[in-house]
Amino acid sequence: MSKQQAEVPYGTLDLLVLRTLAVMGALHGYAIARRIEQVSGDTLQLSQGSVHPALIRLEQEGWIQTEWGISETNRKVKFYSITKAGRKQLLVEVANWEKATSLVARFLEES
């Protein structure tokens, strides 16, 4: 673990989860956490557990839905998949993110 690790940027976990589900289809909680870590090339310091509170919120907002399935260890687990409303929300989040980064980028260019 000598690699330099970054923390998840504030407020972006929702975006990462939605994006993951949009690309990968239905996944269970552990798979979502692993996928985010892998995509980041293990540079992200993510407590895997923190995806669970994020998932319940997204579910309550109606952006993702759950169905019961069987895990690789033969356990009943929830599989999450993105909904129509979730895809719309993903577009909003991506747009917000781009707006924010371009703003910051412009500030950095100026100085």
């Binding site: 269970h28 552990y30 692993r34 557990g49 669970h52 509170p53 994020a54 309550q60 260890t73 929830k78």
Partner: protein, 879 residues
């Protein structure tokens, strides 16, 4: 937050258990999968387990965040804390019982007092649109209120435009013959609009019609609901009954709906029809009530009534025209300044008790918090935020306070039940004191406020500080800043208690002064009762005079009775009958009070004769008219230096003849002067009184005054039988000893005294308990120090005196604050005290002494225990 999510969050509350289980299994599945991957990467089973957990992060923290996300965390947490709090309280029943007990005392007293205040001062009067109901007085001079004559009342009715209804009333007391023993029934003769004034309807039948107070007046009755139930057995056929009142049959035409009138002494109403004599008489004998027209203000009606007054007084003398008509709201009339002040002071006293109770509870919570810091540190280590810990501690306090509030409501109910007879006498009949929803709401609010007041500081204090510090401190089991706060609280308690104790002592001293008031009459062994002679069987003054003769003769023959006197007005009570006395050649009238007495009166009450003679058996109707006057009147007569000079003078005195309110101003001779007997309330100078021989001016209402040889109670049966043997249809009024009458009329002003006394004792006890707690805590903290000192040669006496000094110094600071408080309340107390200064040094000193004694006692027990410390044991314990 979207609406959708909010709905989910509410649902989540209901599905708590299931969601919690799901989360648990999700996390387990997650860890299992992570472990499997780690094993696949070639780690050992042990290492894989550890790695999965490390990557996951804090399991408990994740659960906590999950809970916060999925639901209204505070509500969810509240439910959990409530359950946790109840469990914790059940664990330490001693602590719980003492806190709940102290709070129940404080809250109970306040809820009871609130019910009284609410009924008397806050709630509107129990009539329709009560603000429009007014009393109309005549004020012959500023500050004096007087009844009205029938002539004036009829003029007001004719001229005044501001009243929707205007009605006159005259109180009655009749004998009701309802089969069996005759009973006395209080009622009123009222003009037809009476029930429109009060907006009261009949439940059965009807109230009076407009023509029923005309001519000779109809022989009809309206009963109060209570009278119908109690005196007529709730007879459904009551409207067909013809009860005999004073020997004459009356038709019951209506029974009122249940309500305020049921708490009044008035049981029935009959029409008041004025006779031709009454219509022209100048005698003032009527009370007038009115209902204002919608939108008429009190100022408007008072202004316009002045014009009415001027019109009615056109032909009156210069002096009589000085007067006015005063229109006053019924509420203001029923709830006087004195009653308001008494209730406010009593409420203030119970509020102080509650404050002291709060201080004690806060103290107990702080002490308990100190012993719990370890538990809280562990919870904080397991992922509870500081806010959550404060919330949890506050919830526990809230549970305690709600329990205390509930117990307090039960206590308040018991207090009110016990106090019912006293309240009934002290409060106006319109006040229904009950524990209703408003009182329960008040109790709930007080419990919440108390929870915030007592809980916030200990909760913040207890949950404060870093984890390591807390664990450390818990190991030592003490904290310096706690101790400081607890001391400050105890000082405050002592100060508040002193204010209450001093107040109670002042009122007590005032009460003693009132009991020593010179009454000027024999009070011991005297028993009184009254009879009302009905017009039907006593139509003439002669018949009434015969009755007095006969009754006196029979009473004097009763064994155990030493002397008998008859009079028109109860001794020690205000003489309501005001008349005028005119000296020869003087236009100006002297206002006097008139009392009719028989030859036995002065002797029975031991009233000494100062000059001339008293009333004798020779002063019959046919003998020359005489009067006896009191010292106060003699001093007012022109050119009378010594009382002897008044005897033999001839003056004119107005006295309405038997049974009719007619003007009659006969010339009389002053036969003697007696020493004044007390008639007014405490602090009021003796009024000028004219005593008229009863045989020369008979009245229908007679007080019987009997001096017993020894035990006044023993002659009551004889008294009843003697009256029955003269007239078997005549019911007796209330039988009371003069001592009871004195307690009612003279000590009434200090009624809050006993109440505040009780609360002062409670407050002092609570302060003592608080002080004991703090001193005991300090001593237990300093056991080690004490042990060392004793090992170094300190004697038990030194330890004892040091601990006691500590206690007394706390008390002294508290006393300083308390005296300042007492000083601040001087103005309030002044109005409640009789001949006692609110800064009476004796009372203040006694209050301070009492608190110091309590302080010594509270300090003695822990000090004694400290002095018994075995140095070896303590040092080993704590080493």
């Amino acid at each position: 937050m979207t609406l959708r999510r909010a709905a989910h969050q509410v649902l989540a509350l209901l599905r708590r258990r299931r969601l919690e289980e799901e989360l648990e299994s999700e996390i387990e599945a997650h860890l299992e999968l992570a472990e499997r991957d780690a094993l696949a990467r070639g780690l050992s089973r042990e290492e894989a387990r550890w790695e999965a957990r490390r990557r996951f992060g804090g399991v408990e923290q994740v659960k906590e965040v999950h809970r916060e996300r999925r639901s209204f965390v505070w509500l969810d947490a509240l439910l959990r804390d409530l359950r946790y709090g109840l469990a914790a309280l059940a664990h330490s029943p001693g602590f719980t019982a003492s806190v709940v007990g102290v709070l129940a005392l404080g809250i109970g007293a306040n809820v009871a007092m609130f019910s009284v205040m609410d009924a008397v001062m806050l709630k509107p009067l129990p009539f329709a649109e009560p603000d429009r109901i007014v009393r109309v007085w005549e004020a012959p001079r500023p500050g004096v209120s007087n009844a009205t004559s029938a002539a004036n009342f009829l003029e007001w009715k004719r001229l005044a435009t501001d009243f929707e209804a205007l009605s006159a009333e005259n109180a009655l007391s009749v004998a009701l013959q309802n089969g069996g023993e005759p009973v006395r029934l209080n009622g009123k003769a009222v003009t037809a609009e009476y029930f429109r004034v009060f907006g009261t309807q009949a439940r059965l039948g009807r109230t009076f019609s407009a023509e029923e107070d005309q001519g000779a007046g109809a022989r009809v009755l309206v009963l109060s609901h209570a009278a119908w139930q109690n005196d007529f057995g709730a007879d459904p056929a009551i409207l067909n009954r013809r009860p005999m009142l004073d020997g004459e049959p009356y038709q019951v035409i209506g029974v009122l709906a249940p309500g305020a009138f049921d708490r009044d002494e008035t049981k029935f109403w009959k029409p008041l029809a004025f006779t031709p004599v009454e219509r022209t008489s100048k005698s003032h004998w009527l009370m007038v009530y009115g209902r204002l027209r919608e939108g008429v203000s009190l100022t408007q009606v008072n202004d316009r009534m002045q014009a009415v007054y001027a019109a009615t007084m056109e032909k009156a003398s210069e002096e009589d025209r000085q007067g006015a008509i005063v229109v006053e709201r019924l509420g203001r009339l029923l709830v006087g300044d004195n009653l308001q002040r008494s209730i406010s002071v009593a409420f203030g006293a119970v509020a102080l008790v509650l404050l002291i109770a709060c201080a004690n509870v806060a103290n107990l919570l702080l002490a308990k918090g100190a012993t719990r810091s370890k538990e809280l540190a562990v919870r904080s280590a397991l992922g509870a935020s500081r806010g959550r810990l404060v919330a949890q501690l506050l919830t526990e306090t809230l549970v305690l306070c709600l329990l205390g509030g509930a117990a307090g409501v039960v206590l308040a109910g018991a207090l009110l039940r016990v106090a019912t007879p006293v309240l009934k006498e002290a409060l106006p009949f319109t006040a229904a004191v009950t524990l209703d929803l408003r009182a329960l709401g008040f109790a709930g609010t007080v419990a919440l406020v108390v929870a915030l007041l007592t809980g916030t500081f200990p909760a913040v204090q207890t949950s404060f500080g870093s984890l390591a510090e807390s664990l450390n401190r818990a190991a030592r089991g003490s904290s310096g800043s706690h101790a400081l706060v607890r001391r400050a609280i105890v000082i405050g308690e002592v100060g508040l208690s002193l204010v209450l104790v001093c107040g109670a002592l002042l009122l007590l001293k005032s009460l003693l002064k009132l009991q020593q008031i010179e009454t000027g009459i024999q009070v011991e062994h005297v028993i009184t009762t009254s009879v009302d002679l009905p017009k039907s069987s006593y139509p003439t003054p002669e018949r009434a005079a015969q009755f007095y003769e006969a009754v006196r003769e029979r009473l004097e023959a009763v064994p155990g009775i030493r002397r008998v006197g008859l009079t028109s007005h109860m001794p020690l009570q205000w003489i309501g009958n005001g008349e005028a006395l005119q000296e020869p050649g003087e236009a100006k009238l002297v206002r006097v009070r008139m009392k009719r007495v028989d030859p036995g009166y002065f002797q029975t009450l031991g009233i000494p004769l100062l000059a001339g003679r008293g009333v004798t058996a020779r002063d019959t109707a046919s003998a020359p008219r005489v009067i006896v006057i009191n010292e106060a009147l003699a001093a007012r007569l022109k050119g009378v230096g010594r009382v002897q000079e008044a005897v033999g003078r001839r003056v004119r005195v107005s006295m309405p003849p038997f049974g009719e309110p007619r003007e009659f101003l006969p010339e009389v001779e002053i036969a003697g002067v007696i020493r004044s007997e007390r008639a007014g309330p405490p602090g009021m100078p003796d009024p000028a009184v004219v005593y008229v021989p009863m045989a020369q001016a008979p009245v229908a209402h007679v007080q019987l005054i009997v001096l017993a040889q020894a035990d006044a109670a023993a002659v009551v049966t004889g008294l009843r039988e003697a009256v029955r043997s003269v007239d078997s249809k005549l019911p007796l009024g209330e039988v009371a000893t003069l001592e009871q009458v004195r307690a009612r009329t003279l000590s009434g002003a200090s009624r809050p005294a006993w109440l505040i006394g009780v609360f002062a004792v409670i407050a002092a006890l609570l302060a003592g308990i608080g002080l004991y707690g703090v001193i005991a805590h300090t001593v237990s903290q300093r056991r080690k120090e004490i042990g060392i000192r004793m090992a170094l040669g300190a004697r038990s006496r030194d330890v004892l005196s040091q601990v006691l000094k500590n206690a007394v110094s706390l008390v002294c600071i508290g006393l300083g604050l308390g005296l300042l408080g007492a000083l601040a309340l001087t103005r309030v107390m002044k109005s409640l005290l009789y001949e006692v200064s609110p800064l009476d040094p004796l009372a203040l000193a006694a209050g301070c002494l009492a608190m110091v004694l309590i302080g010594l006692l509270a300090g003695w027990i822990p000090a004694y225990r400290a002095a018994g410390v075995d140095p070896v044991t303590t040092l080993r314990d704590e080493g």
